[in-house]
């Protein structure tokens, strides 16, 4: 309850400023700097009003138009039209009323102004030429008319809905708004979503510019929640998981009123999600039950492991560093890294186990020697074929000569030695080629020391293995702290 009271005490401050005439009425939390043009228009307006009261109609109309030039409020045009009408300059008055309508077609008194324009135009019409017309066209009688004051309403935030006197009458306007109101007390009601409603009473005057600025305060009553889980220390997330946990269970804290999404998670358990509604000024306890996950997690990493392929039971699981879920049971783990000896091992996974696999790769032996042997083998075989071909050619020559009755080929023909050496060289080279080939194959197949991995398995359903508990204890000669922990 104290937290609730504290929350209430820090509710946002609402500052409202109302300026009447040339002065601001009230205070504004964030007021903008005075508008010089507005200030000049206001001064010019007040000067025009003085002239109007003095019935100096022409000067008053001129002054209203000068105010309009400084700040083009339509009310200035209306007042100038009234002053011109007073000055019996009806045609200019008609024009000025028309400019008023053009400037503000949605003016609340637009219909009246149109009627007045028609009336003024009737007065300006030429007199009837026949008796019947004279009888049938009575002289127009204009209702009295007076100048308007100017009310300027702004708010923070902008777009606030303005009601007059009673919300049941419906929306009057939205901020910002400027216009004329009847010179009588009126209650202005401001509403904006997410903000506290505000009401102000003003009394507009026909000879003054009323400037009203209102800053609406946000709704300022928070709710208080308490999150309790069957697993202490679980992470608590509100609305956005990506920004991180806001605390751990058991958790207490304030929340803005409204609907929120609550997540509670902890490794080894299935994440719980709950939609909650926070009422301002209330305290709510949410009890979450976390279930143990039905899988184990394998975290694979280690030096030089980036890009390594983690194979689980012969299937590519992920590219390291990575995590992979394992079904409970025995698994064959193989890690393959380019230019490194593969790691192979067995892993028994239990529910909620978290196993870290820290790979220490052993590089494969360089294949330089293998390639060198392969080249030597190829060269040897090529030379062997060359020598064998020579020997076969010699053999063919000998056989041809033996069959040739025109030649005395004898058994000690020097080609016997030549051919023998060709074949011996070919045999030796074939042998060397074969040996080199075997050496090449052997070097290609040669494996370095096997890659190893440090495997550490923790079951997340148990106590935090790294949590250290310090327990005070007493002995006859003093006291101390006993450290207990599970590693």
């Amino acid at each position: 309850m104290e937290r609730l009271l504290k929350l209430a005490s820090v509710s946002a401050l609402c500052l409202v400023g109302v300026t009447v005439g040339s002065e601001r009425v009230g205070l504004a939390q964030e007021q903008t700097a005075p508008d010089p043009a507005l200030q000049a228009a206001k001064a010019q307006f007040e000067e025009a009003q003085v002239l109007y009261i003095k019935e100096q109609w022409d000067e008053a109309a001129t002054s209203f138009l000068a105010a309009y030039d400084k700040k083009p409020f339509s009310s200035f045009l209306f007042n100038a039209a009234v002053a011109l009408e007073k000055a019996k300059k009806l045609d200019r008055a008609v024009d000025m009323f028309q400019r008023y309508l053009d400037k503000d077609p949605q003016a609340r008194d637009a219909a009246d102004v149109k009627t007045r324009i028609e009336s003024l135009k009737a007065l300006l019409a030429p007199p009837p030429t026949t008796k019947s017309e004279k009888v049938s066209a009575p002289a127009a009688v204009l209702p009295s008319i007076a100048t308007k004051g100017l009310v300027i309403i702004e708010s923070k935030p902008t777009g606030a809905t303005i009601y007059l006197d009673d919300k049941a009458k419906g929306t009057f306007a939205t901020t910002p708004w400027q216009g004329s109101l009847e010179p009588k007390p009126v209650k202005l009601i401001f509403e904006a979503q997410g903000f506290k409603s505000e009401e102000r009473e003003i009394t507009p005057r026909t000879d003054k510019v009323v400037e009203l600025y209102i800053s609406l305060s946000e709704q300022h009553f928070l709710g208080w929640i308490e999150v309790i889980a069957n697993v202490p220390g679980a992470d608590v997330f509100i609305d956005r998981q990506e920004i991180g946990a806001i605390g751990k269970t058991p958790y207490t804290g304030h929340l803005k009123p409204g609907q929120h999404t609550l997540w509670v998670s902890r490794p080894g358990y299935q994440t719980a999600q709950k939609e909650i509604i926070v009422e301002p000024g209330t305290a709510t306890t949410h009890t979450i039950s976390l279930d143990t996950v039905a899988y184990a997690v394998l975290k694979a990493g280690g030096r030089d492991s980036k890009g390594a392929r983690l194979m689980v039971d012969g299937t590519l699981a992920c590219t390291m560093p990575c995590e992979h879920r394992l079904d409970p049971g025995d698994h064959q783990i193989v890690v393959q890294q380019e230019d490194m000896e593969a790691y192979s091992g067995k892993l028994t996974a239990n529910r909620a186990d978290e196993t870290s696999l820290d790979l220490q790769f052993s590089p494969k032996p360089p294949r330089t020697k293998a390639w060198a042997w392969a080249v030597a083998s190829a060269v040897s075989f090529s030379l062997a074929i060359w020598r064998a071909a020579d020997g076969m050619s010699v053999n063919d020559q000998i056989n041809n000569d033996i069959g040739n009755l025109t030649k005395f080929t004898n058994n000690s023909d020097s080609r016997r030695s030549t051919g023998r050496w060709d074949y011996i060289e070919a045999d030796v080279l074939f042998g060397v080629g074969a040996i080199a080939g075997l050496m090449s194959l052997w070097n290609f197949l040669e494996a370095g020391p096997p890659s190893t991995a440090a495997v550490n398995t923790v079951n997340r359903t148990g106590p935090d293995p790294k949590k250290l508990s310090l327990v005070p204890f007493g002995v006859p000669d003093g006291a101390g702290l006993a450290a207990t922990g599970r590693f």
Binding site: A389, N399, T406, F408, T409
Partner: protein
């Protein structure tokens, strides 16, 4: 290309290339060569002695004994199986038993003949001893050798008897003549009529030697025969003259003078009837007048007898540098073979080897045509052909490598039917043809009509021995050259 790839693949699968393929191929070469046997120096193919073909072999078989003239060495080439020669060398102990130990002499055996096909063998060793009496001439030896063969065909060089300078090394009485005893040896029936005797030539005469009793007769015309010849003596034994026994023909070429051939006959010299019976000079002749009386220094360098059954034998006389004479026993005009201008008309020239250009014999006068002569029945027609060595003939572009020309004696007599040479000729020092022999194969057992053995030409050179199983050349012959006696060529 495909064949090569397949062959190489097969080779690779079978374990590579077999170097023995070349040996297998060359085992079927038309010419089998025995080259540079261990212990031999130069003149490897000079002393050739064909032995009787072994009858215990199922296939082509022959045996050839050959000896090193310039080094104590002796070997038998055993042709068996497919006719490839397997050389068996006499061991140092066996050579020592023959007096050919290397510490006694670096010379070897210059001549060989057999007394009977089964032995013993007569080996002439004219240079084996240093001069023991200070005469400047080695006395020489003649050894008798048996060649028993075991069941596997391996022969043993078995000492039988040695006669030195006419004196048995085991105490037999000394006889004449002296010096280079064993220059030439031959078998003949000279004194006893039907008994084989060893005929031995020395520097100053010719002797008849018995294996058991030593010298039985010596030449009596010592003065004529004592003239030192410039070339090695040649020897032929046959029935050249009328009479019951055979006569000895011995050649005495004299460089720069008139070479001669002496016919020695055993008995009482009609010119000296008081002397005891001996080998008197029954006849001597140089270049027959009927074919020209020009003196030929090389006349008599080589001799070969051409027996004619009951008739008198003809005699082939080599007269290098460019002639060979066939002297008929019946008195016909001798036939003269030359290596010059005897190949016309051109259409009958042998087309031998288009690669070497050996399309005709050498025409030069210094080809030493006639240095060796031999009779070989190379076409198997039962009549021997004449083989003549031109020891310094050019072979293609190889100068003085040596060639052997073969003539049919029953043809026109002067046109060679074949020319053989070393396919890898050696210039100047090849001495192809320094030894000639006819080797008899018992190929009849497997490859030829039963009862008919094959004869092939064997040619020695300075470094080895060639056995010509087939003759090259597309020859215009009335009879074909004998086919290769080896089975694979049938």
């Amino acid at each position: 290309m495909r064949r090569t790839i397949l062959a190489l693949s097969a080779l690779a699968l079978m374990g590579g290339c077999n170097p023995d393929d070349f040996g297998s191929a060359l085992d079927k070469a038309p010419v089998q060569y025995i080259g540079e046997p261990s212990g031999f120096a130069t003149n490897v193919g000079r002393t050739l002695l064909p032995l009787a073909p072994p009858t215990d072999k199922p296939k082509v078989a022959a045996r050839l004994l050959f000896a090193g003239t310039d080094a104590p060495s002796l070997a038998v080439a055993d042709f068996n199986g497919d006719g490839n020669p397997q050389v068996q060398l006499a061991s140092s102990d066996e050579l020592g038993a023959l007096g050919l130990s290397s510490d006694v002499s670096k010379n070897g055996i210059s001549s060989a003949a057999w007394l009977s096909p089964a032995g013993p063998i007569i080996l002439g060793m004219p240079n084996v001893f240093p001069d023991p009496q200070g005469q400047g001439t080695p006395p020489g030896r003649v050894a008798f050798l048996n060649l028993p063969a075991d069941a596997s065909g391996k022969v043993a060089f078995q000492y039988a008897r040695i006669w030195q300078d006419g004196v048995s090394t085991d105490g037999a009485p000394s006889t004449q003549p002296r010096g280079h005893f064993g220059l030439a040896v031959a078998r003949g029936q000279v004194t006893q009529g039907t008994t084989d005797e060893a005929i031995v030539v020395a520097d100053n005469g010719v002797s008849v030697v018995s294996v058991t009793s030593g010298l039985s007769a010596s030449s009596t015309c010592t003065g004529a025969l004592a003239t030192p010849p410039d070339l090695h003596r040649s020897l032929a034994v046959a029935n050249f003259l009328s009479g019951g026994n055979q006569e000895i023909a011995v050649g005495l070429p004299v460089k720069g003078k008139a070479g001669q051939v002496f016919i020695l006959q055993y008995g009482i010299d009609p010119a000296n009837p008081t002397l005891p019976a001996g080998l008197f000079c029954a006849r001597k002749f140089g270049v027959p007048n009927s074919v020209g009386n020009a003196a030929v220094g090389g006349f008599g360098t080589a001799l070969a007898a051409v027996p004619h059954g009951a008739g008198l034998a003809d005699l082939v006389v080599g007269a290098p540098p460019n002639q060979v004479y066939l002297v008929y026993g019946d008195g016909r005009t001798p036939k003269v073979f030359t290596n010059k201008a005897q190949l016309d008309p051109i259409s009958r020239k042998p087309e031998l080897d288009p690669n070497t250009g050996n399309s005709e014999p050498d025409n030069n006068n210094d080809s030493e045509f006639g240095q060796r002569v031999a009779l070989v029945d190379i076409d198997g027609d039962g009549t021997q052909e004449l083989a003549v060595t031109a020891l310094q003939a050019d072979v293609g572009g190889t100068p003085k490598a040596g060639k052997v020309y073969v003539y049919k004696l029953d043809g026109d007599g002067t046109t060679p039917i074949a020319v053989v040479y070393d396919s890898n000729p050696i210039a100047n020092t090849g001495y192809f043809g320094i030894g000639l022999a006819e080797l008899e194969f018992n190929s009849s057992l497997a490859c030829a009509p039963k009862g008919k053995d094959a004869h092939v030409l064997v040619v020695g050179d300075d470094l080895g021995i060639f056995t010509f199983f087939r003759f090259a050349g597309t020859l215009d012959l009335t009879k074909p050259i004998a086919s290769d006696p080896r089975c694979f060529a049938q």
